[in-house]
C-alpha cells in the first residue's frame, strides 16, 4: 500500500505561496502541518459543544467529556496501550519529561543513584534531570555515540550499574537515528532500571506499540503528528503511574480536599490538574484517526523511500561538498536529514532557501550536547512527513546551488 498522491490537498496551509513560490515545508520534525480534519474537529468543538468537562450535567458538557475521553481511548489504541487510564495529557513532551523527573524522580532518586541518558537527547530529556539532580545529588550518565551516529552499546552494562532510570529517545531529532529501544530496555530492566522513552520523533512516523518497545514510560507531543500545539502525552504502565505522586495540584486531580489535606484522583486524572486543553485533545484524537486511516506502516514506508531519494540526490549532486550527519542506511533512520553544505552557515542556508518558499530549520535543534559531539555549532535540517514528495526534495537539492553561488569565495 502506498499513500494517496493528493495528500497535500488535505493540508490547507500547503497550498500557500511564500515569496512567490508554493510553500515547500521541510520542517515537520519541529512541527507538522495540520489536515483539514483536525482543524475542523477543533472548530466543531468550539462551535457546537464547548463546555468544561467532567462535572456538567447538561448535554453539551456531557458531549465535550465524551469526545475528550473517546480521543483518549483512540490515542491509547494508537500506541498499543492496554488502557486509556495509562494516557495522561500534558502540554507537550517537555512537560511529560518534567512530570516524570519531578514526580517519579523526586520520589525515587537520591544521592548514589544514577539516571542514564544519551548524547543525542533533546534538551527536554536533559534539563529536567539536571534540575532534579541539583536538588537530589544523583548522577547523570551519558550513553555515547558511534562515529556514524548510532548509540554505542559496547559499555551499556557497565553504564547501567546503579542506574534507576534509563531515559532515551527512540529517534534523534538531529541525526534521524532510530535507536534499539527494546534491546536497551531489556538490558535496563535486567539491571533493575525503568525505561522512559522520548517518542516525539518516533510516534508520528512509525507504527508504535508500547509493549514491543518494552518501555515503562513514553513521552510524545501532538503538534508533530498532525495534531495541534499545546497537547502532549505521557503514557505509563498503570502500576508505575499509580506509584507516582501527583505533579501539579489543583482542580480535577483530586477526589477530596479537606483542611488537613487532599486525596488524589484516580488515573489518569491524578496528573491532569486544572481544565484540560479540551479542543486540543479532540484535535489530537482527529490526528490519530487521520494517521490510522493512512496506515502507519505506509507512512513509514513512504518516508524510507523519500529519505533514500533525498540522501542519494544530495550525494549525487554535491558529493564531498556536502556532509550529512547520521546513519547512511534509510532503514536505520527516520526522515530527518541534518546537513552541512560547504562552509555555509545553516542560518544563511535557510535564509536563502526561504526565498524559494522552502522551510528548513537551522540551529542546534535543542540538542547542544550533541552539537558539541558533532563539532558544529548548528546544522541545517530538512525533515519529511507524509505530505512531502520527490518534488519537495528536488526543490531542496536545487536550491542549495543558489546558496553556493551567493556565498562562493
Amino acid at each position: 500500500m502506498t499513500l494517496p498522491s493528493d495528500l497535500k490537498d488535505r493540508f490547507p496551509l500547503l497550498s500557500q505561496m511564500v515569496h512567490g513560490h508554493q510553500i515547500v515545508y521541510l520542517d515537520s520534525a519541529a512541527s507538522s502541518q495540520k489536515p483539514a480534519s483536525v482543524i475542523d474537529a477543533m472548530n466543531n468543538y468550539y462551535r457546537t459543544i464547548n463546555a468544561n468537562v467532567h462535572r456538567g450535567a447538561y448535554e453539551i458538557a456531557a458531549q465535550a467529556t465524551e469526545e475528550m475521553e473517546q480521543a483518549r481511548t483512540r490515542i491509547a489504541t494508537f500506541i498499543g496501550s492496554d488502557s486509556p487510564n495509562e494516557v495522561v495529557f500534558t502540554k507537550n513532551a517537555t512537560e511529560s519529561f518534567n512530570l516524570i523527573a519531578r514526580s517519579w524522580g523526586g520520589n525515587a532518586l537520591s544521592q548514589g543513584d544514577a539516571v542514564l541518558i544519551t548524547d543525542m537527547e533533546h534538551h527536554a530529556n536533559i534539563v529536567p534531570w539536571q534540575i532534579l539532580s541539583a536538588e537530589k545529588g544523583f548522577e547523570i550518565r551519558w550513553l555515547p555515540l558511534t562515529p556514524e551516529g548510532l548509540l554505542d552499546l559496547s559499555h551499556l552494562d557497565q553504564l547501567l550499574d546503579g542506574v534507576k532510570m534509563v531515559s532515551i529517545t527512540a529517534m534523534s531529532n538531529v541525526l534521524g537515528t532510530l535507536n534499539p529501544v527494546a534491546e536497551i530496555a531489556e538490558r535496563a530492566h535486567a539491571a533493575g532500571a525503568l525505561v522512559a522513552v522520548d517518542g516525539s520523533q518516533y510516534v508520528p512516523h512509525l507504527p508504535t506499540d508500547v509493549q514491543e518497545l518494552n518501555a515503562d514510560l513514553l513521552c510524545f507531543t501532538g503538534h508533530k503528528m498532525c495534531g495541534p500545539t499545546g497537547i502532549g502525552v505521557l503514557w505509563g504502565r498503570e502500576e508505575i503511574l499509580d506509584s507516582m505522586p501527583p505533579f501539579l495540584g489543583g482542580g480535577e486531580m483530586i477526589l477530596d480536599v479537606r483542611r488537613d489535606g487532599f486525596t488524589p484522583n484516580e488515573l489518569p486524572h491524578k496528573f491532569e490538574a486544572g481544565t484540560p486543553p479540551i479542543a486540543e485533545i479532540i484535535g489530537l484524537g482527529a490526528a490519530v484517526d487521520f494517521l490510522s486511516s493512512l496506515g502507519m506502516d505506509n507512512i513509514r514506508q513512504h518516508e524510507i523511500t523519500l529519505t533514500d531519494y533525498a540522501l542519494r540526490s544530495l550525494k549525487d549532486r554535491y558529493g564531498e561538498e556536502l556532509v550529512i550527519h547520521g546513519p547512511s542506511d534509510p532503514a536505520q533512520r527516520g526522515g530527518v536529514v541534518s546537513l552541512q553544505y560547504r562552509d555555509i552557515h545553516p542560518h544563511d542556508l535557510s535564509q536563502v532557501l526561504d526565498q524559494r518558499g522552502i522551510c528548513i530549520r537551522a540551529g542546534h535543534h535543542c540538542a547542544k550536547p550533541l552539537m558539541k559531539e558533532l563539532g558544529v555549532g548548528a546544522t541545517s535540517r530538512a525533515s519529511f512527513y507524509l505530505y512531502n514528495n520527490e518534488a519537495d526534495v528536488d526543490a531542496l537539492v536545487d536550491s542549495l546551488e543558489l546558496a553556493g553561488e551567493l556565498f562562493s569565495v
Binding site: 542560518h347 544563511d348 540551529g363 547542544k368
Partner: protein, 155 residues
C-alpha cells in the same frame, strides 16, 4: 533574489569571506568578553586593549553565520582608536538602526541618510537586516558582547 540582495550586500559578504581583526590578544593586558546567541549557537569572543580611554586593538574569534561574523568584523574596524564614550554612542546608533519599530522600518526603506547614520559608515550596509527580524540578533551579537566587556571595565 531581490530580498536576499538587500540582506547580503557585497560589503557584508566581503567582511564574511575576509574577516578583519581575527585573532586573540593576551589577557591581561587585554580584556575579554564572550557572547552567545542561544537560538542559533553563534558565538563571538572579543579581546581588546584599552589605552588612554580608547580601544587600541580589538581581536575576534568565534563562529557563526555571515551576518554575525561580518558584523563583528565591521565593528572591529569601526571602533578602532575610538574612545569608550564614542564606542558607546556608536553602538547606540547601530542598535537604533537595528530596532524593528515601525518608523525605523519605514526609515530603512528610504534611501535618505540621516546625520547620525553618517558616522556609521560601512556599518550602514547592515541596515537591510532589519527586514529579516530573526537575523537582528546576529547583527547585534558582537556589539552587545563589546558593551558587556566595556561595562565589566567599570565594574
Amino acid at each position: 533574489m531581490s530580498g536576499l540582495e538587500e540582506l547580503y550586500k557585497e560589503i557584508i559578504l566581503d567582511h564574511y569571506r575576509n574577516p578583519r581583526h581575527r585573532g586573540e590578544l593576551d589577557c591581561p593586558p587585554a580584556h575579554k568578553s564572550e557572547g552567545f546567541n542561544p537560538l542559533c549557537g553563534d558565538e563571538v569572543s572579543l579581546t581588546f586593549e584599552i589605552e588612554d580611554g580608547s580601544i587600541k586593538q580589538l581581536r575576534i574569534t568565534g563562529q557563526g553565520c555571515s551576518i554575525s561574523q561580518a558584523s563583528a568584523s565591521m565593528m572591529a574596524a569601526a571602533v578602532q582608536d575610538k574612545s569608550i564614550e564614542d564606542v558607546r554612542m556608536l553602538s547606540r546608533e547601530f542598535k537604533a538602526m537595528m530596532s524593528i519599530h515601525e518608523e525605523t522600518m519605514a526609515a530603512a526603506d528610504q534611501e535618505t541618510v540621516s546625520a547620525a547614520s553618517l558616522t556609521l559608515g560601512d556599518l550602514e550596509a547592515l541596515k537591510g537586516v532589519v527586514k529579516f527580524p530573526v537575523r537582528i540578533k546576529c547583527a547585534t551579537l558582537s556589539w552587545n558582547t563589546l558593551l558587556t566587556g566595556l561595562d565589566d571595565l567599570d565594574g
